[in-house]
């Protein structure tokens, strides 16, 4: 079918007849996949399998002692209140951060959509926080929230307000961590949602306007529903990434004060690289993965259900 159209084009007409017995779709393509497949297998799948294997052992990195415990590590973790606290805490941080990012992102994207001048420049400038090295971004924020000398504290002190200990108080530390994630990922939401809003069919919007819909109605009744698959996709992506959020927390609070901001990822890191309980840490990693998959499945089914295509 496609070959016929090509043959009719003048450039290739002459060479055609002799080779027609070997159509392009029968070409051998698997060699192209080979190098990447080898790398992905050896450095991605094999280590993952190894991690799952490790999770069945009581393996101490410092002493090298290793004993098979079956599901012992999993039973330990599931029976440990600390795991459940971490899980709930991670969930709370992820949901607040992603929720905040989505709301702020949508508001700004809608603003950009309605704006007619300077959109490109503003979009580019507000995007900067998203591509800064995460560790550097966390430091920038640390210097805002640092006690006494930080920018926020000096401003508040100037206004005569006694500032809370942003990074030292358990409650405020969680707020700070959420704000830090929001600072880095709201630009991402803005970019994706703004691009999405621009794909909405203009004739629908005009029809709604003729019917007397105002701006807010157009956004929530017409535009959002029509980019629903994109919203489902971006929320799922973001949730999954936020679940493994590590760099920023490591630099900002290292999970502290106490364990106020210790997410599952931080707890895994501490188990593996501070306490050297590699087996148990792997089990925790696997449990985190299961939690993420469950969350993603719920999200895709609830938001993406009505449309079969997800972006």
């Amino acid at each position: 079918m496609a070959v016929d159209t090509v043959i009719q084009s003048p450039g290739v007409a002459q060479a055609a007849p002799a080779r027609r017995h070997r159509p392009a779709n029968r070409r051998r393509l698997w060699p192209f996949l080979l190098p990447s497949a080898i790398v992905s297998f050896c450095i991605l799948l094999f280590p993952l399998g190894y991690a799952v294997y490790l999770s069945f052992f009581n393996y101490y990195l410092d002493s090298g002692a290793s004993t098979f415990v079956g599901f012992g590590n999993y039973a330990d973790l599931l029976g440990d209140a600390r795991f459940w606290t971490s899980l709930v805490r991670t969930f709370a941080i992820v949901v607040s951060a992603v929720g905040l990012e989505f709301c702020a992102g949508l508001a700004v994207a809608w603003g950009l959509y309605r704006l007619t001048v300077g959109v490109r420049t503003l979009n580019l400038l507000m995007f900067l926080p998203h591509i800064i090295t995460p560790v550097v971004a966390a430091l920038f924020l640390k210097w805002i929230f640092a006690g006494r000398w930080g920018l926020l504290d000096s401003i508040l002190a100037g206004l005569g307000i006694f500032p809370p200990d942003w990074l030292g108080d358990p409650m405020w530390a969680r707020v700070t961590v959420v704000l830090a994630d929001a600072w880095q990922f709201t630009p991402f939401m803005i970019l994706v949602l703004y691009a999405g809003l621009n794909t909405v069919d203009q004739s629908q919007i005009e029809a709604a306007q003729i019917d007397g819909a105002n701006g807010r109605q157009i956004l929530f009744r017409i535009m959002l529903p029509s980019i629903r698959p994109l919203v489902a996709f971006v929320l799922t992506m973001r949730m999954m990434d936020a679940f493994r959020y590590f760099d920023t927390i490591y630099v900002l609070t290292s999970g502290g004060p106490g364990s106020a901001t210790e997410t599952l990822t931080m707890q895994t890191y501490a188990l593996a690289f501070r306490l050297f309980q590699v087996g148990k840490a792997s089990a925790l990693g696997v449990l985190t993965l299961l939690a993420v998959l469950l969350l993603a499945a719920i999200l895709i089914f609830t938001i993406g259900r009505s449309k079969e295509k997800s972006a």
């Binding site: 790398v39 309605r114 007619t116 591509i131 560790v135 970019l191 990693g285």
Partner: protein, 275 residues
């Protein structure tokens, strides 16, 4: 175009968005100002907005504190990662984009789910394997780790470019007698060259920004900038100006990147570049 705001409220909207942008950029500007302030100005309360700038700390941190060396490590690792990752990823993406049937879709979906794995779960076996193979604190360990985690992204992004090239072009080349490899290298690859650049730059950024694996796999000889600044920064306020200078320096290549890539940001980021 009718959903755009009327002229009167345009000014208000513009003002509000400018304020938001300013708020988002405040931490960066504050850090930059800290990096060019004398300590006496940096710790002034209320914050000083007018002061005599000094670039002494920038010079000190890069020249005397060894950050130039960390920059070299970062660049060597990021560049090798991009070379390997983009070469093999591009080939795989081409193969997948030209395959028919369910297999290709299945592989692409599998890759996407690999991208979602918590990196922490990989860091543990990477560390143990690297230790076992005596590769801790060597470039190859870090490069291999980054190539592996870069593969899903590279393949997805390149795939999106190859899909845009009509299959008829390959078929025409095949009819002219080109084999699979000639078709790939001489016909299709030149067409997607812009996409290749975009993918390479995004992979470069990903490798440059990576922290967790660098924390676990590098040591004194191969330490990258993110690990160095995380160790250095934030701890002692005496180093505040110095680490601010380092942090600003680390950000400069990224700003260049952003200027180069502004048109391609959506495509790359929707697939999860950067973090």
């Amino acid at each position: 175009m009718n959903a755009r705001a009327p002229r009167m409220s345009q000014a208000l909207l513009f003002l509000a968005l400018c304020l938001f942008t300013a708020l988002m950029l405040t931490p960066v500007i504050w850090a930059f100002m800290t990096s060019i302030k004398q300590p006496v100005d940096a710790f002034a309360i209320p914050p000083k907005l007018v002061f005599a700038p000094t670039f002494e700390f920038h010079r000190q941190v890069w020249v005397e504190k060894g950050f130039a060396g960390f920059l070299v490590n970062s660049l060597v690792i990021a560049a090798s990662t991009v070379l390997i990752s983009v070469s093999i990823g591009t080939m795989a993406a081409y193969g997948l984009s030209r395959m028919r049937g369910r297999a290709a879709k299945g592989i692409l979906f599998g890759l996407l789910s690999l991208r979602m794995f918590p990196h922490m779960l990989l860091a543990i076996p990477f560390f143990l394997l690297a230790k076992f193979l005596n590769l801790i604190d060597t470039y190859p360990a870090m490069v291999l780790a980054l190539v592996a985690i870069n593969q899903p992204f590279t393949i997805w992004l390149m795939h999106s470019f190859f899909v845009d090239v009509p299959a008829e072009i390959d078929e025409a080349a095949a009819i002219d007698g080109a084999n699979e490899w000639q078709t790939f290298f001489r016909v299709v690859l030149p067409i997607v060259r812009p996409g290749l650049w975009v993918t390479a730059l995004f992979s470069l950024l990903l490798a440059y920004n990576e922290f967790l694996f660098a924390l676990v796999l590098t040591g004194p000889h191969t330490k990258t900038l993110p690990v160095a600044i995380a160790e250095y920064g934030g701890e002692d306020l005496n180093y505040w100006s110095l680490s601010a200078a380092a942090a600003i320096g680390i950000m400069i290549p990224i700003m260049v990147f952003m200027a180069l890539m502004q048109r391609h940001l959506v495509r790359g980021l929707a697939l999860g570049a950067v973090k």
